[in-house]
């Protein structure tokens, strides 16, 4: 049996959309964007459900945000998560990764769990810090960039992706936080049967007071990162296409790199 909590975030899909920055420069215009579960979290929820299916236990998903987050949570329920909790409070607005980690930890500390899965990063702000900070605040170990999870009697044997193509295998006892990398499984689709099962399920909501966190610990005041402004990087100079056989191209490339002082 294994009880897993998965933290999921709702993010805009900007892969093909035109990104427009709002006048105050502190947000992007999202009215025309489609939103969905953060890609990394989609792998995290799949991994949790696979573990539950193999070992028994329970999967709980947690999201932070307004009612629109329910859609993401319901998708997770439809895939096989057992419970969902939505954390919402006006005080949470403007939270950075650290403040979100505080909010999540406040909710998680009172729950029964063996492991917490988060995505390795979020596709919108790409901070990639929430999982680690969450583990620190909870006072439990964590592993980042996790590409494989095997759980046996409360001990997880995990594989992590390192720089330069290296991989590392660790054994970590529960409880622990794993920040899940994409590609470690094939996320299932949401099925009609799943939708049927969950569409009327109420998702409990908890505000700051319910999880015992005060307004000055969260939101902008409780954050360490202050977002100044967004900008779109200026388009680069025209790219130079190197032509020729692989040998010639490699030679030309080496010459250019040398000229620019790369070695």
């Amino acid at each position: 049996m294994v009880d897993i909590i998965v933290c999921v975030k709702r993010v805009p899909d900007t892969s093909e959309a035109e990104v427009i920055i709002k006048d105050d420069k502190r947000a992007i215009k999202d009215a025309d964007l489609t939103f969905d579960i953060n890609e990394w979290d989609n792998y995290a929820i799949e991994e949790a459900i696979l573990k539950k299916e193999a070992l028994g236990g329970k999967v709980t998903v947690i999201g932070v945000g307004g009612e629109e987050v329910n859609e993401v949570l319901r998708r997770c329920l439809a895939k096989g998560a057992d419970e969902a909790i939505r954390l919402t409070d006006p005080a949470f607005d403007g939270s950075d990764g650290y403040a979100i980690a505080k909010i999540l930890s406040a909710a998680i500390k009172d729950l029964q769990y063996d492991f917490v899965f988060t995505g390795a990063q979020a596709g919108d702000d790409s901070y990639g810090v929430t999982g680690q900070m969450l583990a620190e605040i909870l006072g439990i170990p964590h592993a980042t960039m996790v590409t494989k999870v095997d759980i046996n009697n409360g001990t997880a044997r995990i594989r992590r992706e390192l720089e330069g193509g290296l991989e590392e295998v660790d054994e970590i006892n529960k409880p622990a936080v794993f920040c899940i990398q994409t590609g470690l499984n094939e996320p299932r689709y949401v099925s009609i049967m799943g939708i049927r099962k969950v569409s009327k399920k109420e998702i409990p909501v908890k505000a700051a007071a319910d999880i015992g966190i005060s307004a000055d610990e969260v939101g902008e005041v409780g954050s360490m990162v202050k977002l100044e402004e967004f900008s779109i990087p200026p388009a680069g100079e025209l790219a130079e296409m190197i032509e020729g056989t692989p040998d010639e191209a490699a030679g030309k490339l080496a010459a250019i790199l040398k000229e620019k002082g790369a070695f």
């Binding site: 439809a78 689709y189 949401v190 009609i192 049967m193 799943g194 049927r196 569409s199 009327k200």
Partner: protein, 386 residues
Amino acid sequence: MRFELTDEQRMIKSAAAELAQGFEEEYWIEKSRGNEYPREFYDELVKNGWIGIAIPEEYGGGGMGMLEMVLGMVEFGNQGADVGLMFVLTPVFGGLSVLKHGSEQQKEELLPKIANGDMRFCFGITEPDAGSNALKTTTTAGKRGDNYVINGKKTLISGIDLAQKMLVVTRTMPYDPKHKVAGITLFLVDVDSPGIDTSELDVGLSLLEKQYEVFFDDVEVPAENMLGEEHRGLIPLFDTLNPERMTGASNGVGFANFAINKAVEYAKMRQVFDVPIGSHQGIQFPLADSRAKIDAVELLLYKAAYLYDKGMPCGREANTAKYLASEFGFEAVDRAVQTMGGYGLTEEAGLMRVWKNIRLIKTAPVTNQLVLAYIGQHVLGMPKSY
């Protein structure tokens, strides 16, 4: 009047979009180019409950309605997935026909298998001399002991190679000009019954389902495989026409959305003279015109499905939606092709397969003239035109 989708319906749309996005556009182009069935995609449709979406839960289905089927279909089409015939053959001609007109035994036997993918359907009405006029069917079913014996020939039958059962339209009484509608009887026939022979037709579309001529030579069918009553097969037949029209319309709306979006992207980016071609009215206005038309049709389609689910008359809406979706949809895809210039005519650009297939909806399963004949006669109350 409420226009917003329920949470469940929004989930249906996003689930369809996600499933469709699991298959790259290249997948569809390759399948259509090689005339190969997209089995992997179909398997996912089955596995995730789409084929049984409108079959009640007690028979192993999703327990939803036509509106949910249509919402899903439009979304699949929006993403460029070609699901038109997939939904009309098994879920509509198989699932809805049996659900509405099958005996309890037929429902218990067939519906769970339809929902779990074990049983696929094809539909046999068209004959060389009986297309738009189904009453002229010459395929006969004669009684022999406890069985019926079918003889005759059907043509343009889609997907018999993929199916286990065929819903066959026969005559159990000769055509009588005074009682034209009497004597039609429907049968659920195993496609591997002795006496059934098929021959593949060369249809110049890049359809995923192939078309066949089907020959019946003394094909014995147990009487309990009759759907509905003897001689009164027109009742179950007519009953599936509205959902059939809605699936055609969904396919048209989805493909039109797909094509418009593709063309708009291209027009914003492509510069021929000094500005993107999308800034020329000659490119922009036809696409805007199509956008407006398809938006209107989409609403009408959802209304038709809503009425059907409520058990209310929906012939007017279903027929109009199928008519406009195919006419405006074809126009939209054609304009999208035009927007993309010569590139639009390459397979790689991704519109040719859509262009060919959306053309079909003007003709099959029912021609647009016959749809107008319906509107003229049944909506406007004008004299029967044929």
